[in-house]
Amino acid sequence: MGEATPLLELRGVSKRFGAVEALTKVDFTARLGEVMALVGDNGAGKSTLIKGIAGIHTYNEGQIFFDAKPVTINSPRDSAALGIEVVYQDLALADNLDVVANMFLGHERTQAMGMLDEDSMERTCIETLQSLSVTTLRSVRQEISGLSGGQRQAVAVAKAVMRNSRLVILDEPTAALGVAQTRQVLDLVRRLADKGLAVVLISHNLHDIFEVADRITVLRLGQNVHEFMAQQTNPQEVVHAITAGKMLHVPGMAEVEIQ
C-alpha cells in the first residue's frame, strides 16, 4: 500500500445549490488497487461529491485529475469514457430481463443482420462473474426478479466491471443486505481492488468499512475533515471525525483563509 499516484484526484472542489453550499473545497483521492471509503453523516455531501465524479452535475470550482492529467467531467458519458462506473443504491436493473441481458443493456453485441449475439454475451458474462468469484448465481439466464439482494448487487458490480472500468464507485452496497450477503458483497469489493481497480465505497457501516477499506475519507457538512489510513486508526476516531471533526472553513462565513 505505497504512495501510488492517485488514479482520481479532486482538488478543492465546491458545489453550490443556490445559496446552499453543499461542498466546500473538498480534496479527495482514489488509488488503483485500493478501497477508499467515503463516510459522513446524512447531508455531509457524499452524494454530491459522487455525482460530480459521475458527471450528473458539475462542480462550481476545483480541479479534477485523472491519471495525473486535468480533466473535465460534464456528463455521465465523459465519466464513462474515463472508465468510471457508479453502482447506485437502486442498482438500475430490469427485473424482467435475465442476468446476461442486464449486464449488456445498452451495449449489446450483435452478429449478422443485427441479431443479438447471445452466446458471445453469455460467455463474457460467465467469465466476468467467474473472475470476480461470484459463485452464488445458479444460472446467468435467471431473471433478476428471482435473485436475492446480494446477487443483484453482484450483478450490478459485475456489470460495472465488465466495461473495462478503472474506478468503481459503490453507493451503500450493503445497506439492504443480510449478514451472509453483506459478507459476499464485501468480499467482492475487496476482490475488485485486488484486481487492480480503484474502488470508492460509500457506507454508513463502519464495521464494513474497517473490513475492506485501505483509506477512509471523512466528510462533515460539506468539508473534508480527515483522511485516515484504515490500519492506523480505529472506529472511535472515525466516529469522532464524523460527528465532531474540525472544519477548515466555517459555512456561511466569508472566506477568511488561514494559510
Binding site: P76, R77, D90, A92, L93, A94, D95, N96, L97, D98, V100, A101, N102, L105, G106, H107, E108, T110, G114, M115, L116, E118, D119, E122, R123, I126, R138, S139, R141, Q142, E143, S145, G146
Partner: protein, 409 residues
C-alpha cells in the same frame, strides 16, 4: 400452426432452477413460482374446442378450420402491435379507428378518380398509419402525458376522420382483385405442403445449429431429446394444419401472411437490440435510460408499430369484407385486439409477454366467436362470455405476478 421460434438463447426465458437440472424439474419450479407461460392458454383452448365440438359437430371440420384462420387474421395482426405497446407498459386505444383510417384511405385510393395501382395504395395507406403512430408517440413523449389519454383522444378523432373521408357514402366497394385476394385466396394444396415442409426444415435446422453452437462454446444446453421433441411437435402441428386445410379449400393465403408477420415480429422482439430495449423499458424505464438507451425514440417507434399493424389489420379486414363502410374500425375490434394480447399472456403491467400471445389470444377469441356463432347464441351472450374469458386471463396475469415475489410496479 407454427408458433414463434424460441431458442435457448432468446434470453427471455426465465430459468429459476439450476441450469444443469432436468428440464422437467425446471419447468415444475417455474409453474410453482407463478410463471405459467402458455400452459393455461393451451388448456383453455382445448377446453373450448371440446365444449363446442360436443355442442355442434360442425366445429371441428376442415371447412370451419379454414374459416377460423380467416376470421382471426385481422385481430391477430392488430394484436401484434398491441403486444409491443403493452410490453412498454403503455396502451393504445386508437388502433380500431386507425385501422379504419388505413383501410378507408386504401379503398379511396384504389377507387376512381384516383385509381392508384394496388401496391401504391397499400403503401400509402400504411404510411398514413405510420404517421398517425408517430404523431401519437411524439405527443406522448414530448409532453409526458399518459398514452391512455392521448390515444383515447385519437380514438374519437380518427373515428371522425373516417366519417369525413367517407363523405356521407355508406360503403366503398373494393374491386382490385389482388387486394381482395389477401383474405380470399387459398394456396394450392401442393404449395401448402411445400411451404410447411420447408418451414419445418428451416426450424429444425436453426434449432440444431443453435444447440451445436452452444455445445462448441461450452455453454449449458438443452438436451438434444428436448429439441427433437420440440421439432417433432412443430412438424406435427404444421403438417397437420396443412392436411386439414387441404381437405377443404386449402391453406388461406392470409394464414401464410400471419405466420410470416408473427415470425418477423417475434425475431424483432427477442433477437434484436430494439426488442431488448422494449422489454428493458417495460421492466425498468430508469435502468434503460441510465444504460444509454434513447427511451423516447423507442417509445415513439413502438407507437408507430402499433399503428402500422393496425393499418395492416384494417386492410385485411377490408379485403375480407370486400368493402369498407362508415362502421369500419368500430364495434368490438379495439377490445378484441387488446383482449387477444392479454388473453395470450402479455402482461398489462409491461415487460412481460411474447408476440406469439397475439396469435394464441386471437385464436381463443375467434374460436369462441366462431363456436358461439355455430350455436346461434345472441350477441349479448357472446359479449358476456368473451368478457369472462378476458377477466380470467387478467386474473391469471395478476396472480402469477404476485407469485413472482412483489414485482408489482
Amino acid at each position: 400452426m407454427k408458433t414463434t421460434p424460441s431458442s435457448p438463447g432468446s434470453g427471455l426465458a426465465p430459468a429459476t432452477a439450476p441450469a444443469s437440472g432436468s428440464r422437467f424439474a425446471q419447468y415444475m419450479q417455474r409453474m410453482r413460482s407463478g410463471e405459467l407461460g402458455s400452459l393455461p392458454i393451451i388448456l383453455g383452448l382445448i377446453l373450448i374446442v371440446i365444449v363446442f365440438q360436443v355442442q355442434n359437430q360442425n366445429f371441428l371440420t376442415p371447412r370451419n378450420f379454414v374459416n377460423l384462420i380467416v376470421q382471426m387474421a385481422g385481430i391477430t395482426t392488430i394484436a401484434i402491435g398491441v403486444v409491443y405497446v403493452l410490453l412498454l407498459g403503455e396502451i393504445d386505444l386508437s388502433i380500431g379507428y386507425v385501422s379504419a383510417v388505413a383501410a378507408v384511405s386504401m379503398a379511396l385510393l384504389l377507387r376512381e378518380p384516383i385509381s392508384l395501382p394496388w401496391p401504391l395504395a397499400v403503401v400509402v395507406a400504411l404510411l398514413v398509419a405510420a404517421a398517425v403512430g408517430a404523431l401519437h408517440g411524439s405527443i406522448i413523449t414530448r409532453f409526458q402525458v399518459p398514452s391512455f389519454v392521448v390515444t383515447l383522444a385519437g380514438l374519437l378523432a380518427w373515428n371522425g376522420v373516417v366519417l369525413i373521408l367517407m363523405q356521407g357514402a355508406g360503403t366503398v366497394i373494393i374491386q382490385d382483385q389482388t387486394v381482395l385476394n389477401i383474405a380470399n385466396a387459398y394456396l394450392p394444396p401442393a404449395l401448402g405442403w411445400a411451404l410447411a415442409l420447408g418451414g419445418v426444415a428451416l426450424f429444425a435446422y436453426s434449432q440444431f445449429t443453435n444447440v451445436r453452437a452452444r455445445n462448441q462454446r461450452g455453454l449449458t444446453n438443452r438436451s438434444t431429446a428436448i429439441t427433437i421433441v420440440q421439432v417433432a411437435l412443430v412438424a406435427l402441428l404444421s403438417l397437420g394444419a396443412v392436411y386439414f386445410a387441404n381437405l377443404d379449400r386449402g391453406v388461406p393465403f392470409i394464414g401464410l401472411l400471419l405466420l410470416i408477420l408473427l415470425a418477423a415480429f417475434s425475431v424483432l422482439a427477442t433477437r434484436t437490440k430494439f426488442g431488448r430495449y422494449v422489454y428493458a423499458i417495460g421492466g425498468n424505464k430508469e435502468a434503460a435510460r441510465r444504460a444509454g438507451i434513447n427511451v423516447e425514440r423507442i417509445r415513439v417507434m413502438v407507437f408507430m408499430i402499433s399503428s402500422v399493424m393496425a393499418g395492416v389489420g384494417g386492410i385485411i379486414l377490408a379485403s375480407r369484407l370486400r368493402s369498407v363502410d362508415t362502421a369500419a374500425g368500430g364495434g368490438n375490434l379495439l377490445i378484441n385486439s387488446i383482449a387477444a394480447a392479454v388473453i395470450g399472456g402479455t402482461s398489462l403491467f409491461g415487460g412481460r409477454g411474447k408476440v406469439s400471445s397475439a396469435f394464441l389470444g386471437a385464436l381463443i377469441i375467434a374460436s369462441i366467436e366462431n363456436g358461439m356463432g355455430l350455436l346461434n347464441l345472441s350477441a349479448g351472450e357472446k359479449f358476456v362470455i368473451t368478457g369472462l374469458v378476458l377477466l380470467a386471463a387478467v386474473l391469471v396475469d395478476a396472480t402469477s405476478r404476485r407469485g413472482q415475489g412483489g414485482a408489482k410496479r
